[in-house]
Every structure is written in structure tokens, then in C-alpha cells.
Amino acid sequence: MAVAAAVAWQGSAHAQTHRAALLIQHSSSWPGPHVLWKCVEFAQEAIGGLALLQLAGVNSGQPPEIYDWGAGAYTVCQLDRQPQPIPDRCFGPMSGPNWSDWSQTASGWVARSAGVAGYTVRDGDVEGWSYSVGRGSQPSAVSFSQICPPPRAPTATAPSRNTTPSASTVARTTPTAEATSTAAPSPAMQALAPSVSPSAGTALASTGPPTKSPPGALGPWLLLVAAAIVLTGLGALNLRRRRP
């Protein structure tokens, strides 16, 4: 039964690795490879658009060049070394070419209206970037399975190699677990833990920026409401004092 639980836990841990497809399409004059496909793995439920680009390492391993508009809004200036060099203030002339951001829906590519920090990418999403003039042209059509093919033998190669030794570890620790009552299952879990970090991508993703800030405490709201009540009372007092 402990083995079954361990395998089930292993399975759910494997399902925590999410994948999103990223497509980078250069302008037609670009000398290098015209279209770039990246399959990005991440541990969180959802990651921001900028984190997706950072994880993909599309700027030859460097973070993408961005322009900070303030208030948490960013614009992407350079991806995969295009444009080289980066124009003045990211865009250069207003009519110049730029990177436009697209997300794939059931009805094809749809342009993103929020900045790169204004949306999140989930498991199975396809995100496209194309370098073009003006409001941007759609990237070429692609499907998620083209960029992120399913593992060649699902749960046959890597996962099974992981499962077998850990299962035997659990089996070996079970007798001691029965002997020393409740203390044993946690070492068994700790023994399993190292085997569930499959790739460097996930490790990087787990250190990435948090997608949402934690909900605020009650203190500021109490202070705000108290100040508002006191000030309203003071104002009413002064209005009445003035009248006679």
C-alpha cells in the first residue's frame, strides 16, 4: 500500500511539470534560421509572458531585452539577437518594425493586448512572437504537439527508471516504518523527493518570479477606514462650527 501511495505521489509530481510552446518568427530579411520553436517546461500552474521568454533563453541564453515603461509594464525590444543593435528607446522611429505578441486560440492567432507582464501562460498554451512592421503580422500556423511532441514512450523511459529504485527504497523502509510507528513515512518521502526534479528547466522555473502577490494584510484597510471616518467627522465638525 505504501508502494501504491508512493507511485501515486510520484505520478502527481510528474504531472506538476507543465509545458508551453513558444514560437519566434523573424522578419523575412533575417539571415539566420527564420522560425524558432521552443518547448518550455515549468513547475508552476501558470507563468508570466516574460518568464516564458526568460526560461526559453531565446536571446542566445541571455534574458530578452526589455523596455520598462514603469508601473510593471514592459515591452520586448530584442529576441534572438534581432534587431541588432537595439534602436534608440527600444523602437527607434515610430513606424519601425517591432516584436508583436500573439496567443493561439481555437480560432487561430490572436494579438495580445496586454504587455509582456500582463498575462500568464498555462500548460498546453502556444505563444507566438513575430518581428514585423506596424501592428504586426501573424506568425505561421503551428500546433502545440508540433513544438512540444509527447514523450516518445510515455512513462516508459525516464519515469520508469525513476520509479523502480524509489519503489524498492520504500519497500525496504516499510518494515522499519511498522516498527517505529509514525516517524518512518517521512524519510521515505524524503528519499523520493530528489527523484522528482526531472530537468533543469523546472528547477529554474521554481526560482522564477511569483505570478501573483500574496493577499494583503488587514492592517492597511483598518488604518484607511479609521482615517476616513475621523476625517469625515472632523470635516462635519468644522462645517457646523463655521455656520453660526
Partner: protein, 278 residues
Amino acid sequence: MIRHPVAWCAWAAAALAAAFIDRNPFLQALLLLIVINVFIPYRAERRVRVWKIGLALAVVPILFSVALSRFGTHVLFTLPAIPIVGGRWTLDAAVFGASTGAALMLTVAIFAVLQTTVRSADLVAILPRPFYRAGTTVALAIAFAPKTAASLQSIREARQLRGQRAGWRSAPQLLLPLLLTTLERGLQYGESLDARGYGSRRRSRYRPVPWAMPDLVVAGAALVAVAAIMLMPAQAYNPYLGLWPTTPSVGSLCALLLLAIPAITASIVRKDHAAHHA
């Protein structure tokens, strides 16, 4: 009662810094409440008309933003492809305009408080010596504008009493009496300046405003508030990224509450024997 113009200028600078740097709607609402509270005990007997300008400045950005911005995810409705206004009208754009409008309205409100509490003569009196004459000239010029508007109004009323038209076509006939009245007033100003020794190299001081305890407290609190607002991270608000604003920080709230001190001192301290100047 706060009298000293420097204390008021420090207060206004701190309030303007808060209005420009912190765009969080909760902080904006609290600052507006504070500015209104400071305004109430100090307001003059005459009605202040600036609230109309403030309201217009608050509404116009909403209209511009919602009509011209096509960004945002909360779509209100979609217009057909008409050149400038066609496309998706979003709630995000309207909220962004409202946030900008609130900052503009706060600016007008702060200057309204400054206008009712600080006399231009007091400001000129504390100017350093090289700026004294230029300051006097500017103060006179500022005082000239409302007087000219008032005399234009009286000329129009006089024409109406005689049964003459008062539309835009009568503007040329208004201009000559207005010019004569203004020239006459200019001569009067010149004579009075001459009588007070303006142009002789000495400067006269008429009843200088002393620093009282409340003035020092207000000026000190304003300096602390400015430093806190500058040093703490700005409480930004971008409705395109998230319509619901973030929780304001306790530090920013406390910095804003320091600006309410003029309202509190005015409520506690009874009016002094000297008549409150308008």
C-alpha cells in the same frame, strides 16, 4: 491657524508629491479627503469656483482615454471600423482615465487651498532681496487679471441695463471702456507704489508674519511626508495590468495622514483675534 506662507508651501509641495507619485486609488481618495478637510476651516467667505475646473479636469481624461485607447481586456462594447473611435471600448481605459483625472483634480484642489490660505503679498515679503522687485511686479500682474475680469463684467452689466445687446458681437464696443478702466487702474497702482517708496533701494516690511508653533509643526510634518513618499516604493496603479488595485502600504498611509495636521490644528485652536485674511 497656520499663517506662515512657507509652512503652506511645504504642505502643498508634499501633497503634490503624493498626488503625482502614488496613483493607488485608495491613497488618492484619502488625499482628496484630507485636502477637503484642510480647505473647510480655512475657506474664505466668498464662494470658490475652482471646483468646476477640477471636475472638468477629472472628467475629460476619462472621455479621452475611453474613446481613444484600444487596450485592455474588459470590453464594454465594440464599435464598427469608424476612423478614430471605432473598435473595442474597454473598462480598463475608462479606469485609467479616471486615475489620471483624479490626480489632476487633486492638483487643482491643492492649489485652491494654497490660493485661499496664502496672500501673494506675504509670499513677496519673504522673497530674497534680488527677487523682491520682480516678485512685486508678478504679484501685481496676478492681482490685475481678476480685477480686469470683474470690470469687464460690470461694463457688460451696465450695457445690459441700458438695453443694449450683450452677445459676442458687442465685444468691440466693450473693449474701449475696458481699456480705459485698466489704464486708469494701472496709473493708480503706480501712484500707490510710488507713495510706498517702491523704486527707492530700500525695502519696506509691513507686519511680517512670525513663525508660530503650529507653522513649525506643519512644515516639519510636510518635510517628513515628502521624504517618506520619495524614499518608499511608489504605490503605482496600472488598470491595464489589473483592475483591482493593490493594498496600499501602511507607510504611505501614515505619510498621507501627516498632511492632515493643518485641519487638526485648525479644529483644536480657536480663531485668533486678528481677522482671518482672504
